[in-house]
Every structure is written in structure tokens, then in C-alpha cells.
Point group: C2
Chain length 315, copies 2
């Protein structure tokens, strides 16, 4: 089998590429290195089953050329800054939805019939059911969530038109090795930059759930290996646990052995369009035999340790 | 109150414009006349509370200018040919999703805080629950359904960012005066063009629901008048009844006093991406006091009568 991973030099995409190689398959990493990093793929550069194409997903012609002979596409390239859409109404549309259109067109052209897509808990918005199951309707409150939800619908349409297999994963926050954006990164960076008081969004009360990347990758491939083909399969990947922002911050600080005064600057949401309670229902994935091996706090500790070992990631 | 109706010279949009005027408000019809018709608005041209802007919704600058001083936007312009997306992957994206983006940007610029949007039963795709309630997740099987679903998400995001009131209506087929596309139109046109055998998509078994336009318009304004402001309100508008395609065709033929041999050419779907059972749950709308005054067969008869009285609509 030959796989192509868009965003394959990014946090999650590079782990997908590693896992595909570990299983003995070939992989093409397609990445524009806007947020992807050589550091995450350099250990594979001499592997004959690995190849790298530097390109933008919106360049359908280049992507289509790279997709020649591919059996399975992991479309994991995305604009992952959930905050940005409030001030820039176009960035999520281009990088999440139009990028997905480009992937679908390139697949159609190359007759690729399998796609796995990185969606998000943000499609549920301020869900009224917690933990939130896959059957909950889309109620996005941000253009990040809306464009990921939109991309799911486009993937469903192509799958219906052409009889493709589609695997859609709705992710909670993922943390662990190669993590480069989100609250753990922000907190450590502010401290590295000399903050004496730690400024924080929200009032510390929003509740979020995170999954360690190793657990997440195992879940993704468990789905692909076990579920029935010929359907659109949707799976949440989240943690049974949930922490408040304040608990997350305290865990970051204690993992890094830092004592600093916290200053919360906001209300019960981190930013316009943020959701103040994110907790995915994992029942569907658990029925396949999955469960997370690491607690959220373990995941945070591993992430802090990784970032401390790789200070150049802070730029 | 000043209203703007995109697609206001179309089938449903022109009825919205009439109703707004009847209630004593001002209305601007914004239409590019790609499928809209002068015939549907000419009775209002001398009304001082009516104005017409010929323009494309994708022309954000022109739309934005037209929206000056407007309080409420009915965004009813759309690409409504659900079949077309299979062969043309771009038309629904442009005319349903990017058109909606353009409307949202023009609203933001003009500080308009109220929007009603014409969505569709197609967002549910091949729903496994019938009748299908508003809480059913999106499972579109066509780019028509996917782009309408996507537009709902974008509207939700802007409503969340800026505190707008949004009314989203998921329509079954609407029929009645000014209806110009769909099975009733196609059947009568084929006969008008001299068919001796009536060629039909599908095998006649798909089940569909239709609502008479007068009932539908009443439902739309009942929602706007009665529901709580400051939320995103979603309402199905469909009929409790449902007919097979064969029953619909027989009703068309008997209404038009035509005897002709039917020839079904397909399987249990009319086209790639079609849904073979469309039946919306109306409970939410009924709780507001709504019920359809006309049966589906009454609606078909009224539609046939209208088309026979307006043969120039067949071009």
C-alpha cells in the first residue's frame, strides 16, 4: 500500500507517516512547511519507503501529480489556530475547506478511493450533551469548526458519488511529542520569554480534554483496520477525563518546576468562538477495543518534557 | 423594518418579498435573474416600499451597497439543481457556500443582525430516522446538500462572533405558484415538447414530501415572529404526508388530464447523490401552531394549474 499524508511534516501528520512506515508501507509526505518541520521527518529521509514533496495543498496540480499511484490519503494539513477566524474570515475557508476540495479533486483524478480526515471536536460547538457522541449535530461557533464541518460534508459527497471509503476523526486536543501549538506551548513560551506574571485567556474555568498522541495514533489505525469498508465512518477521539484550564496550567507549571503568578484576563471562554466545555464521547472507539493508556496529566508531563528537550521549537 | 431578499425574483424569494410588503415593510429584491423572473416581481414594481437591485450575490461590493440601512436579510439565492453537482463540482460551492460568505460579509459591513437562510432536507442525506428531526446529524450525499450544510455552519459562526439572530429553514420540496424547476415542471415540459412515452428517472419508488408554498411562507414567518431572539433557530418545513415518485407522476398526469405511458429508467435513486426517502419531522414547527392547509396532491394540482396558465415559463 502507498499512502500520502498532507501535513505530513506537522505534529499529527508526521506521527501518521512514522506509523505507516512501521507497518511496512510506503508513504509520501506532502507539506508546505508553513507549520510543518524538517525535525519531525528527518529521521525518515533515508528510508526508501519514504518520500517528501514540498507543496501547498491548494496547488491541486502539484498535489495531483504527487498522488500518482497512491492508495490511501491522510488529509491532515489544516489551519489549526482556532482563534484566528474571528479576525480573519478567510483563512479557515481556504486552508481547511478549499484545501479539502483540492485533495478530493486530486483523489478523483488519480482514482484514489480511501481517505482519512482530521476533523475536530469544534464541529459540535457549545454542545448541550457531555460527553458528546458522534451523532450530535453540528453546532460550530467558530469558522475553524464550521470549515472542518463543511469539509466533512464535501468528503461525504465525493464518497457517495464515487463509492470511496472515508474515515473521519473528530479530535479533542492532541498533546505529546512534536506538539507545537496550544496552551502548553504558549505557557512555556511566555515563561521562556521572561514573563514574571503569567497572562492567560479566559477565567480558568473552561473544561477541555486532551489525548496523548500515541494513544490517538493507535486509535486512528484501529478504526481503519477494524471498521466495515464502503461507508463513511465517523469516530471521536478524545479522553474520558477532562480538566479545567486552571488545572491544565497548574499541571504544566508543576511539570516544568515553575512557580509563577497566574493572571486570568477573560470570561468563561478563551476567545470569540471558543467553547467552554469540550468532552467527547469515546464509546464508539472503545467498542473497537481502544482505551487511552495515558491520563491527561501524563500527556501534559510528556509534552512539557518534549518541549524542554527541544527548545528550538520556540523559535 | 427594511428587508433584503437575495434570490428575491425566484420562486420562494418572490413570495417572501410579497409577504414582507403585505405586512407593511420595505423590501429590496437582490437577484441576478439567472433563474429569477421579472414575471414574479412585476406586480410590485410601482410599490414605493419595493426596490430591485439586479446583481450577483457573489459581487460582495454591490451586495454590500444594496444592504445599506437593511435590518433583516433573507438569503434565498441558491443553486437549486441538486443533480448538477455530480458532474460539476464547483457550482454548488460557488453559488451556495461562497454566495453565503458574501452575504455574511456584506451583513457584517452593514451591521445587519438578522438573517433567515433557505437550507434543505438534503443536509440529512440518507437519514436513518423518518420523519427526520432537526437534531439529526448532517449526512449529505450530494454537493448540493453539503454546501447548504456548510453554509449553515458559516452562518452559525458569524452569529456566534457578532451576536446575530439566525433563522435556518430546512425545506422539503416546495410547490405552487411560481414553481419553475423539479419533477412537475420536467414532466409537463416533456409532454409539451411532444413526448409520446414519458421518460423518468429512478424506478418510481423513491419517497418524497412536498409543501405548498403558501403553507411554507406562513411557517417561515411564524418562526420569525414567535421564537426567542439571540439564538440560532433551526426549523424543518416539510409535510406530514409523503408520496412515491410514481404517485407524484400519476397526480401530475391526472391533474393535467394527460394519459401517457411512463418509462422509468433507473434504480431506487433519481441520480447520483439523490436520497430515496425524504420525510421531515415537523413537530418543532407544529408546536408553534403551524400545520399545512393543503395536502401534497392539492399542492401538485395547484402547481400544474399554475404552469398551464403560464406556458411561457417553459421557454
Amino acid at each position: 500500500m502507498k499512502y500520502l499524508v498532507t501535513g505530513g511534516a506537522g505534529f499529527i501528520g508526521s506521527h501518521i507517516a512514522d506509523y505507516v512506515l512501521k507497518r511496512g508501507h510506503s508513504v509520501i509526505v506532502y507539506d508546505n512547511f508553513s507549520t510543518g518541520k524538517k525535525l519531525f521527518i528527518e529521521h525518515n529521509l533515508k528510508n526508501k519507503k519514504f518520500s517528501l514533496v514540498k507543496g501547498d495543498v491548494l496547488n491541486t496540480r502539484k498535489l495531483s501529480k504527487a498522488m500518482s499511484g497512491v492508495d490511501f490519503v491522510f488529509h491532515f494539513a489544516a489551519h489549526a489556530d482556532t482563534k484566528a477566524g474571528f479576525l480573519n474570515h478567510d483563512v479557515d475557508h481556504m486552508q481547511n475547506l478549499e484545501a479539502t476540495q483540492s485533495v478530493l479533486e486530486a483523489m478523483k483524478k488519480n482514482n484514489v478511493k480511501n481517505i482519512a480526515f482530521a476533523s475536530t471536536s469544534s464541529v459540535y460547538g457549545d454542545a448541550k450533551v457531555h460527553p458528546t457522541p458522534e451523532s450530535y449535530p453540528f453546532e460550530p461557533t467558530s469558522l475553524y469548526g464550521a470549515t472542518k464541518a463543511a469539509a466533512e460534508g464535501y468528503i461525504r459527497s465525493y464518497a457517495s458519488y464515487y463509492g470511496w471509503n472515508a474515515y473521519i476523526f473528530r479530535f479533542a486536543s492532541f498533546i505529546g511529542e512534536r506538539y507545537t501549538h496550544g496552551i502548553i506551548f504558549d505557557v512555556l513560551k511566555k515563561i521562556k520569554n521572561g514573563a514574571t506574571v503569567l497572562p492567560l485567556f479566559s477565567d480558568g474555568t473552561p473544561k477541555k480534554s486532551s489525548v496523548y498522541i500515541g494513544d490517538a495514533i493507535r486509535g486512528i489505525f484501529m478504526v481503519i483496520d477494524k471498521v466495515k469498508k464502503g461507508e463513511v465512518n465517523i469516530f471521536n477521539i478524545g479522553h474520558d477525563g477532562v480538566l479545567t484550564i486552571d488545572e491544565i496550567v497548574d499541571t504544566i507549571l508543576s511539570s516544568a518546576d515553575i512557580i509563577i503568578k497566574k493572571k486570568y484576563k477573560g470570561g468563561n471562554r478563551g476567545w470569540k468562538g471558543d467553547n467552554n466545555f469540550v468532552h467527547l464521547d469515546n464509546k464508539k472507539l472503545r467498542h473497537l477495543g481502544w482505551k487511552p493508556q495515558f491520563s491527561i496529566k501524563d500527556g501534559i508531563r510528556k509534552t512539557v518534557a518534549y518541549l524542554q528537550k527541544n527548545p528550538k521549537l520556540f523559535g
